[in-house]
Symmetry: C2
Subunit: 321 residues, 2 copies
């Protein structure tokens, strides 16, 4: 894309909060042709974001996931020394500051004081609803949640969650922008804890931990069940299309056949108890048998390589997205 | 593999029940070099299984997923006219008959009457525990659940579930056999409804349907959340490795940070209500907007092509399995 499809829009976005998530967002916007200004309240983090972005672009280049030269993309990214400098002349701010209500609220107050009347603000929060930090300001109709998966330049899904004060035009703008930069838009139409993505992850993880707790299966065997079983179809169809194709008459037929079984399974699981110390210790011990603590960091690099290989393979075998 | 690693084992297995699942199993065993005898109580189904298998082998060949000529693999597969003929001289029976307790029980009684003292029987049931149909026979120590995902020649995971009467040697035999033919073994150590795979699927689906019911998100947006988000990491890591890498200190650190959020999310969902007619109708309507009823069949062919492409891509990018 070359410009944001909005009257009066500039082709520059601001990244506020320049840790891992913010740096990943900078790559998303810059590779789509937009100019990006990066700012973090901590100048050291602002400074370090550039080599971080360079590394991410190098990985994308190595896997054939960007067509342009990494240096060309990097040249669209500059740093800013103050919040005012970062948002000056930009149409959109992607906020990825610390995941704390008070920190996000203060940022919104600061932005409210300096924002142009057109500025739209997307928050990367993975779980705090806008109602907790985005209400009661002039800016409020132009704030919404734009929740990515990490890293956003590899995993395309983005949840758009309006607060009760977010305007429809703001949601529409964010949808246009996200599609233009190649992300997949999911609309979360009510503010629920965990939005959609983390709710789905939460219920699966709760069941997984409970199965370990009861001695039904090991962590490793549960991981195998997903990565060599359920995860295959989910990774290109999602759960509804999967079951729609799994009964002769489609999803309604499936619901009649298997709904009662699923109801019994779900009803048999009480979710009230926390993961206690003994269980956490047990899971930790099992994981450390497969991956030592000192190898976590190198395994994260392995994961990012795999995600890039997955993206490259998916692009060639699944071009419709 | 060229023979089953077991004293006195023949290199022939029998497929009993030759529908979609049975035919898929025949491909798994034959491509691994074993001889396969296919039998269904309905001779018409026995007969039709051969062209079905031919089609599956052609797909695997097209995607570079088998090294041998499909005709060579097919030449290892023969049909049998009676159950006695099918199991004569074989060491292992893969049972994939109708998913009904009475049908499975009758088959076990019939097998018990004719089985050699070494015969081991694996049942493909996706949810009926062995205790419901496999107890109290001479054969009982040699019966276990060997539950595949459909189609088993593409999706490698297999759940091994012993009944209380299954011997440890039987589980060990099945594990050796499954690994030898290239499947991924998961041990389910207690008989729980839905085993591991369908329990994980059940809790995720229950949450997904509830989110549609509450108007939080559409079916299509929930599918996007998984296929363009959660499903990416799950398809090569599984849920435990995913969270182990998602907190600086690993899984225990993650549990302390995010456990309470996940507990609140899971506790906020009541699972007691069935999927009622209105909700089923709503989901059906949404799915049919994306895929007309008459296109279900062609979309299933699309799915199988995608699974093969996924398997081929995974083999090249993820050789360690």
């Amino acid at each position: 894309m070359k410009d944001i499809q909005q009257p009066g829009a500039s082709n520059t976005v601001a990244i506020v909060g320049a840790g891992l998530v913010g740096a990943g967002w900078a790559v998303v916007y810059a590779r789509a042709g937009l100019k990006v200004k990066v700012f973090d309240a901590n100048p050291e983090i602002t400074r370090k974001s550039i080599p971080l972005i360079e590394g991410q672009l190098a990985g994308l280049h190595r896997h054939g996931l960007i067509e342009e030269d990494p240096a060309t993309i990097l040249s669209r990214i500059t740093t800013a020394s103050t919040l005012a400098e970062a948002v000056e002349g930009v149409t959109y701010v992607q906020e990825s500051v610390l995941e704390r209500v008070d920190v996000k609220r203060q940022l919104m107050i600061d932005l409210d004081a300096i924002a142009s009347p057109d500025l739209i603000v997307g928050s990367s929060t993975s779980g705090i609803p806008g109602s907790a930090f985005a209400l009661g300001l002039s800016l409020s109709p132009r704030i919404l949640i734009v929740h990515p998966v990490n890293p956003p330049y590899l995993v395309p899904v983005v949840e758009l969650v309006p607060s009760p004060e977010t305007s429809a035009a703001t949601v529409e703008f964010a949808e246009t922008l996200m599609k233009a930069v190649g992300q997949t838009v999911v609309h979360v139409r009510k503010e629920v804890e965990g939005f959609v993505l983390n709710r789905l992850q939460a219920v699966l993880l709760r069941e997984a931990w409970a199965l370990v707790d009861e001695g039904v299966a090991s962590c490793e065997d549960i991981d195998k069940t997903v990565r060599d079983g359920l995860g295959w179809r989910w990774s290109f169809m999602g759960p509804f299309e999967t079951i729609d194709l799994n009964a002769p008459g489609g999803v309604a037929d499936y619901a009649v056949r298997l709904g009662p079984l699923y109801q019994r399974i779900a009803a048999s699981r009480q979710h009230e108890q926390p993961w206690d110390e003994t269980l956490i210790k047990q899971v930790e011990t099992q994981r450390r048998e497969h991956l030592e603590h000192g190898d976590l960091e190198s395994r994260r690099a392995w994961r990012d390589e795999r995600l890039m290989a997955f993206a490259a393979a998916r692009r060639s075998t699944h071009p419709e997205g």
